[in-house]
Symmetry: C2
Subunit: 274 residues, 2 copies
């Protein structure tokens, strides 16, 4: 394997490391993310995320804030990096998927960053849809859409439109942030939209706290999905028209069975272009 | 961090480890994927992938096959696991996203697997869209759709429909398998569909061989994207209507700037539910 970004000693100027540490189990952390957490002088994150990586953090400054203080976290991280520190701003999953990487860049723009003043590195991680898919079986073998049901920053009409488009075009659908204690109607409406165009027995995987304490896995279907607990820590994967259950797992065939005999590997028809 | 799946010694019966090793740099491999490759007795994979992980493989049986021999690879892996071996079937990226995990389950079904005969574990990795996004900046901060342009196993009409749906609903769009030497028309048609409904200056990131030898990164736009090289090793990310360039990086705002002053962190309007 090539190491494109060598594990260099601390740079003489500030560094902002935007780190996704995966689902929360150290096993599913990448080596680069672990290096970043160990290498940084200052770790900044949402309190719950800091707790997940605390065993890796020793003799460092830790700045932990509450859930709604994203701008404060990003601002502190950027400003400390500009002051010459090596700062890791950490998110669970992939910091580049619904994570803090974008807000960090927005704050960098606000501070007049031109791309040269500090080093910025986004370190990707295993995102929730990957972690959940691996536990459920293999539901993401075909085209998929990822939709957050949080309408805190996005108008619900935009989200509705995406749900309908994804359902009609037969995407596998990953739902992030399906429900909170105050936000309960969105998952009901999302299900109604999907029920209008999809078979009611379409498999639905409901995963709470994938690969961390409290993990809970349910494979249900569109009809019955709301009879199971769904909350802040849940990610939902809705199959496409081909998704089926194999030995208790949720599997979306890629389409080999249309052109090949799965038993023998022989081609059934002449294939088109590669 | 909790270790949900302890690193146990070899089980007395066969194991099938379906392993995603990420973009190819050892830095972006998860600890669990590295363990699986080191722990397995037999490693099976597409020749190019085996070469990427070869430094980790010592004193093991290696079975490497060509690009179109997926069913053969999956069948060998399943049959060897049934014979009591510990087998790792490896893919780059995430084995659960357009990878070999689904085909392995289809072969398991063909062999009458009920969920108990052998141990099967899907080990997720950093998928291409995560790796490419991290290099490009932060384009996946909002809802996204992932579409493979390969019509080898999927009718082109289905792919066209998904492209149009994703473009109209303003998803960020990840295009896997955009082009091969024989399959050149699909990316042109995909661009035409997106040009019909999206601004022509929508940012487009074109990444070849993310985080491995030969990496090449271009940030272009819908108008000009086809003037850049695109091939078998390329993944493309097309922004949504909000995606912009910040210090040379491609960033999709989450929407904080609509409700908050990014400079001060102060709320501009009262927010709705959380």
């Amino acid at each position: 394997m090539s190491n494109n970004a060598p594990l260099t000693p601390e740079s003489p100027r500030g560094s902002l490391l935007l780190v996704g540490f995966g689902p929360g189990s150290e096993e599913h952390l990448t080596h680069r993310a672990k290096w970043a957490i160990e290498h940084a002088e200052i770790i900044i994150g949402y309190r719950t995320y800091i707790d997940l990586v605390r065993p890796l953090i020793q003799n460092k400054t830790i700045i932990q804030t509450g859930m709604t203080e994203e701008i404060e976290r990003a601002s502190q991280a950027v400003d400390l990096a500009f002051s010459g520190k090596t700062v890791a701003l950490v998110s669970s999953g992939d910091v580049g998927i619904y994570g803090m990487a974008g807000l960090a860049y927005e704050v960098l723009a606000d501070r007049g960053y031109t791309g040269t003043e500090i080093d910025v590195e986004v370190i990707p991680g295993v995102t929730a849809l990957s972690a959940c898919a691996s536990i459920l079986g293999a539901p993401l073998m075909h085209d998929f859409a990822s939709i957050s049901l949080s309408d805190l920053l996005t108008p619900w009409e935009v989200i509705r439109k995406r749900l309908r488009a994804a359902a009609e075009a037969d995407f596998v659908i990953a739902l992030y942030n399906p429900k909170s204690s105050k936000r309960v109607r969105q998952i009901e409406e999302a299900r109604e939209i999907m029920m209008e165009v999809r078979d009611h027995d379409t498999p639905v995987g409901i995963v709470k706290s994938a690969m961390r304490e409290g993990e809970n896995i349910v494979i249900s279907n569109l009809s019955e999905m709301l009879t199971h607990p769904i909350g802040m820590l849940t990610t939902i994967l809705v199959g496409n028209s081909q998704t089926r259950i194999i030995a208790g797992k949720m599997v979306t065939p890629r389409g080999y069975q249309k052109k090949y005999n799965i038993h023998t590997g022989d081609r059934l028809t002449k294939s088109k272009t590669l």
